[in-house]
């Protein structure tokens, strides 16, 4: 087991709570709106962006230029956000299916990320790059915590003020549009927050795993409730619990923090699927429909 100072422990737990809350709350949108593929692509874009940011940062340091900005984070966000907003127009212009574009971008971003990392001096790869890829207890900075706290607060504010719009869009986009809701604007807001959450969570969870913390707690919550309010609240609780439990697991067994959080969230999700009353009801109903179809 690893022992840390109280300050570092508190910072870690606080990071876990914030990343767990923000990721899982956004996860409810992602899962319900079937945006998981877009999310995976965004996470890989964040990795490519962060890698490019680190590369530029290193060249600037070599040239004795200090911009006093967190370039990897800024680049991660830019890549993430541009990917999400370019998907639709790219698919429209090329007349290709969105999933084809997603598959292409997913591979491109991963390849770009590794190319950018390969240009970094070897000493840098072992510390910063690994932190971006897999997350690190030491990678969490106070700026990340402040940013995650602000993002979490904004998510709460947006949910309070625009809950009825988000609910309509999550139920049926076409009907939301028909009743006079600005669906494009609110979808843009969802993608924007997604990009922000991914960007500021990669230092703790890692770019390659952050998306599991977005999807798993929300998917767990969907196994139990029929009311979206309860789904949001339970997803946030599960997200926080997964993160904190994962951090302690990482400390106890000396494992990578991102991987530990994701292992916990996967175990919780699998358990939820097994005991889910909703899933059983759905299967029972589907069985009834199949039997009726077979006899008629």
């Amino acid at each position: 087991m690893i022992f840390f100072s109280l300050d570092l422990m508190l910072k870690l737990i606080f990071a876990g709570i914030l990343a767990g809350f923000a990721s899982s709350t956004m996860g409810v949108f992602v899962v319900r709106l079937k945006m998981t593929s877009i999310g995976y692509c965004m996470a890989h874009a964040a990795f490519a962006g962060a890698a490019l940011g680190m590369l530029i940062d290193n060249y600037l340091i070599l040239a004795s230029i200090n911009l006093n900005i967190n370039l990897p984070l800024i680049m991660a966000f830019l890549f993430t956000f541009l990917t999400s907003i370019l998907l639709g127009p790219l698919s429209e212009k090329t007349k290709l299916d969105v999933n084809v574009i997603l598959g292409f971008l997913f591979a491109l971003m991963l390849a770009l990320g590794f190319i950018f990392l390969s240009f970094l001096p070897s000493g840098v790869i072992s510390s910063q790059a690994v932190s971006v890829l897999w997350g690190s207890i030491f990678g969490v900075m106070i700026e990340d915590l402040i940013a995650l706290a602000v993002i979490s607060a904004l998510i709460i504010v947006f949910l309070i003020f625009f809950y009825k719009e988000f609910l309509s869009i999550m139920f049926n986009k076409k009907m939301a549009l028909a009743s006079g809701i600005n669906v494009s604007l609110f979808t843009f807001i969802i993608l924007l927050f997604n990009g922000l959450v991914i960007t500021f969570s990669i230092n703790i969870i890692g770019a390659l795993l952050v998306y599991a913390l977005i999807v798993n707690p929300a998917s767990t919550s969907f196994q139990f409730f029929y009311d979206m309010k309860k789904i949001f609240i339970f997803a946030a609780i599960i997200g926080i619990a997964d993160s904190v439990a994962g951090i302690f697991m990482s400390l106890f067994f000396d494992l990578p923090v991102g991987s530990s959080i994701i292992i916990v969230s996967c175990i919780v999700f699998i358990s939820a699927v097994i005991i889910s009353p909703k899933r059983r009801w759905k299967m029972k109903k589907q069985k009834g429909i199949d039997e009726w179809n077979n006899t008629n």
Binding site: L177, A178, S179, Y226
Partner: protein, 250 residues
Amino acid sequence: MSISPIIFLKNVDSIYEGESRPTIKDINLKIRRGEFVYIIGPNASGKTTLLETINGLVRAIRGQIRVFGLDLKKNSQKIRKNIAYMLQTWDIEPDEPFLVKDIVMMGRSGKLGTFINPRKQDWELVKDCLEIVGMLRHYKKPIGKLSGGEQQKVFLARALAQDADILMLDEPFSNLDTDSRSMVLDILRNYKQRKNATILVVSHFLSDVSFQIDFIDRIVIMQEGRIIMDGSPDEVLQSEEYICLKTNRS
């Protein structure tokens, strides 16, 4: 003095996203406030596209559309807030995570406006609308646990809750038995009288409401994306187009 129509379409062609040819062609239609218009036609004749062209969900590539006297292109969001639209299909899964009360309230989402959360009187209206369609007992139930007919009534309540001046219903009788069809027609009759609302109903055929045909002001027949007949029930029922449609169906 002639009263300007509440819905006005002139030489309209419209096309679905990704399609190369227009689904409806050269549509000319004027509907006045307070009219009940029944739109019939075979499958893929463009009935749903016509409704979705009126509320701007489907893009018009030619012609002019004015609703409430406003140009649809420039005012689509404003116009939609005052048109209640009930879809033909909903694809409700048995584990759908939405409650009946929330779905009915969604009808009011656009009209309430941004930053305004539903107030007590909005929830009271939701209850009233559910009571009108006989679904108040399911107020807190998940929508996926209701039958197809019950879901259809909930979606009608949602349309009523919007309290719009134009009501557009796509196949509202498809999952309903005769008693329920009669009940829905009564509800529409009351709604029209109370608000002097304009009601557009799309259906495959007139048999859905043939027992209450007096209630209909106009019947529009569509075929292959065009309006082939538009007139009063008496005119349409005796027309060659209607007889042909009826013969093809049987």
